[in-house]
Amino acid sequence: MWDYTDKVREHFVNPRNAGELPDANAVGEVGSLACGDALKLFLKISDDGRIEDARFQTFGCASAIASSSVLTELIKGKTVEEASRITNKDIAAELGGLPKEKMHCSVMGEEALEAALRNWRGEPAVPHAHEEGKLVCKCFGITDAQIIHAIRENNLKTVEEITHYTKAGGGCGECLDEIAEILAAESGKPRLRELKPVTPKKMTNVQRMQLVMKTIDEEIRPRLETDGGDIDLVDVNGTTVTVALRGRCAQCRSSLVTIKELVEKTLREQVDPAITVEEAQA
């Protein structure tokens, strides 16, 4: 049995603002019957951009219904500007927390709000993030843009967390490797930005080789190891670096992405922008 807070239970049993809003001028819909949860959010927004009324219809578990209910309470009376800053974290916090496996219910709330506000602005129903993103999880229709958004918004550290927040990877599991790649690329970014550029003006071949080895040892390998992978440096020939992926990375269908997105990018930033990385032929 789920460890729901009293507030989740209370909002589940007595949902606020449930039902349709006949004079709504903004509607946001996310989820589907097949996915197991769906939320339709109705807003009545005044001419000066204030949310006068909010109602919802939700198909889903107790936490989905409770998330929808507190969302309507959170946004009622707020300006569109204020409401657009509400995230899934606010929804979960308002409920006194959600079981981690249920965080996607709060994300659904945020997405429905975003969709409704887009609808009000006359923008297409599907946010740019979804349009531009590449479909990663085919079971639940989750794009890389949605995954990256959830990672940044909630500071997610593991693939499991991403599944809890977005549902991505929770079906057949085929996209789990791809999610791991996205996570690796994301978790790498802020860390790299903090490091000061260490690219010397002129490097000898030996210096470059040593720096490549150091970067692989200190920067790249630890990240691959968190996903059960490893990397071997095979050769450095001028600015061409040849590597072999080991462990889980070796069987990974997206090993090329790892090499380009993680290995090459890191080496370019840390060693030399001219570097190209190649995978050693088995």
């Binding site: 819909e29 219809q57 249920k102």
Partner: protein, 393 residues
């Protein structure tokens, strides 16, 4: 608030007679059945009596009864024994709707190099016997097919399937955890080699199970290190629980007619009551061949966990094949194997009765359950055409 317990496929109440039979073995009669002295010996005789009670329920011989710790241990013991005694055979036949006790073991064995055939089922959860027969090969070590399904209650044609296996010289195991005590069975005419059962599904406590092993079947123990159970399962006997299971078996044998005359009638009354009162509700499974106590109903437009929590507030205990109850994101493997559309599977609820279920309880559920669905549908976006009482409350 009164509890209406309709989750007997998850576990059952321990029969008061069972508790009573067990109690002395927690206090005065604490001897070790293996001891030479009279004090332990009397306990040994009581264990032998329990073995006879269990054998009588199954139409088996006492020496064919192996006491284990649970149904899962029985399943593992049977399948691993079949592999150990036939090391040249690397193939197993089972079904996609087995309990995880069998499925997860098979998936584990698959990673160890065994080949597993997982037989599919049709939309009612039925197996195709021809497909099953064709799957049995010369190198098939064992076929394992559940007697009855825990989620939808389907009863499989074990007589026919076991006969086919015997003709082809393949060992046959059935996980009968949900069936024993609900469906009469007789090992003198049912040609299975192994049969698993679990105490807590038939009003004995949790932590005790049985593996029936047909006399003459080659066997390798799972646990070594003692002569107990005639060397087939080392470890000092769980005496009080064995005594309890013996009593539960005797009670089950005495009450088995009531399963059809009492339990099945209440189940049908419940099922008809709900399906008639609630639109867009369908019964999952094979209603022509089903356990007398089980009903799995799918309610469209609502989600199972929400239903269960609403029922919980009414004191009604049920279970669901929905994704959200388990923490996974997909509906149960059984409903998926049956091809139940996700739109229905998410709203599936399992109600399982026992001989302790009363007509009053069933009528209470028939009265209180439909408004729960109505209430959840009123806030669901997928029933706009109904309008109804949707609105803030």
């Amino acid at each position: 608030m009164k509890t209406v317990y309709l989750d007997n496929n998850a576990t059952t109440r321990v029969a008061p007679e069972v508790v009573e039979a067990m109690l002395p073995y927690f206090s005065d009669l604490y001897g070790n059945p293996s001891s030479m002295h009279t004090f332990g010996g009397q306990v040994g005789r009581a264990v032998a009596g329990a073995r006879e009670q269990m054998a009588a329920l199954l139409g088996a011989r006492p020496e064919e009864i192996l006491f284990t710790s649970c149904g899962t241990e029985s399943d593992s013991t049977a399948i691993l024994s079949a592999l150990a005694t036939q090391p040249d055979k690397k193939h197993i036949v089972t079904t996609r709707v087995e309990h995880p006790a069998v499925l997860a073991l098979c998936q584990h064995l698959e990673r160890r190099g065994y080949e597993i055939t997982y037989l599919g089922v049709d939309f009612k959860g039925r197996l195709n016997p021809d497909e099953y027969a064709a799957a049995l090969r010369g190198d098939t070590a064992i076929a394992s097919v559940m007697f009855a399904n825990n989620e939808v209650g389907n009863v499989y044609p074990i007589q026919q399937l076991a006969e086919i296996a015997r003709e082809k010289g393949v060992l046959f195991h059935t996980d009968a955890v949900q069936a024993v005590g609900k469906i009469p069975m007789d090992m003198t005419t049912l040609p299975v080699d192994f049969l698993s059962l679990s105490g807590h599904k038939l009003h004995a406590p949790k932590g005790i199970g049985v593996l029936y092993i047909r006399k003459g079947t080659r066997f390798r123990p799972l646990l070594r290190g003692g002569h107990q159970e005639r060397g087939r399962r080392a470890g000092t006997e769980n005496v009080p629980y064995i005594i309890g299971l013996g009593m539960a078996a005797e009670l089950a044998a005495r009450n088995i007619d009531r399963e059809q005359s009492h339990v099945a009638l209440l189940r049908d009354r419940l099922e008809h009551g709900l399906v008639n009162a609630v639109p867009d509700a369908v019964v999952n499974g094979d209603t022509d061949s089903r356990l007398p106590n089980t009903s799995s109903i799918a309610f469209k437009y609502v989600e199972g966990e929400a239903i269960l929590l609403m029922l919980d507030r009414l004191g009604i205990c049920a279970s669901s094949g929905s994704a959200c109850t388990s923490g996974s994101l997909e509906p149960s493997h059984v409903l998926r194997a049956m091809g139940v559309p996700f739109t229905y599977a998410h709203g599936s609820v399992r109600l399982s009765l026992s001989r302790y279920t009363t007509a009053e309880e069933i009528d209470y559920v028939i009265r209180e359950f439909p408004p729960v669905i109505e209430r959840l549908r009123a806030i669901s976006p997928f029933r706009g055409e109904q309008g109804g009482p949707a609105g803030s409350r």
